[in-house]
Symmetry: C2
Subunit: 153 residues, 2 copies
């Protein structure tokens, strides 16, 4: 597990550097990061539905693996300069502080990565009660970042 997380954090740094060189357009970066969050959101909603209804172990595993894979995929690279505000008709709800408070953002990102990877691990056991508890922890890390760095609706 630590290896995975270390890789993810390393990749975040690495991809950040790589993408600065390739000059990903800010409007594309916003769309890509929103797509990652949206797909994780759908995956979370599927796990929630399983916890509230009939529990399908395989569906929960696939959803949890998807969340972990996206969490590990280096989304930090999608916060390129110029993507801190709406650009070319593409809206973002990120607060500008997200780009300056690197230590705080790093902590939140690491917590999210850790909990997402742990959710994938727990899902593989098929223990619905443990998944429920861990699902709550993942949701907590989502909320923590939204509270601090996402503009309210």
């Amino acid at each position: 597990m630590m290896k995975k997380i270390t890789l993810a954090v390393a990749a975040l740094a690495v991809t950040g550097a790589a993408f600065a060189q390739q000059a990903l357009k800010p409007e594309d970066a916003i769309k890509y990061r929103q797509s990652g969050y949206a797909y994780m959101s759908w995956s979370m909603s599927k796990i929630k539905a399983n916890l509230e209804g009939t529990y399908d172990k395989e569906q929960v595993i696939l959803a949890a693996n998807t969340i972990a894979a996206i969490a590990n995929s280096g989304m930090g690279a999608l916060y390129v300069p110029g993507s801190e505000k709406n650009v070319k008709g593409v809206k973002t709800r990120v607060k500008p502080e997200f780009f300056t408070k690197q230590q705080e953002v790093g902590k939140l990102a690491l917590a999210f990565n850790q909990e997402a990877n742990e959710l994938a691990r727990v899902a593989a056991t098929g223990d619905a009660a443990a998944v429920k508890a861990q699902f709550g922890k993942v949701g907590g890390t989502c909320k923590a970042c939204h509270d601090d760095f996402r503009i309210k609706d």
Copy 2:
């Protein structure tokens, strides 16, 4: 590998049933499936950049794992009735035939799943030449579906 693919196909059926019950809104289904494709597209572009520039094994692994996880996540559930056309301001480029030619779509989806899982397997070896070949195969399965079932720009 076969187990993974079988699971993915099974999950596609299972989640399809589960979500019909939950009545996922067509406009949300379109947004979620587009987010999945967009995030895979970003992941593909990262692998391409690695193949054309400096090859970073870990970045390619994370991107390939993301594509495989999304491919395995049961996107079939996102093609709910009512999502075959633009709805509530949300546009889709899917052709209506996608919803009726189930056998053809199933074949394309299975081919994509197989090649995406194989890409994740090959990426783990760090063999850039093999990744390049397999990357081409994945791209081919994307294109095959786009050619038949996506409305041209």
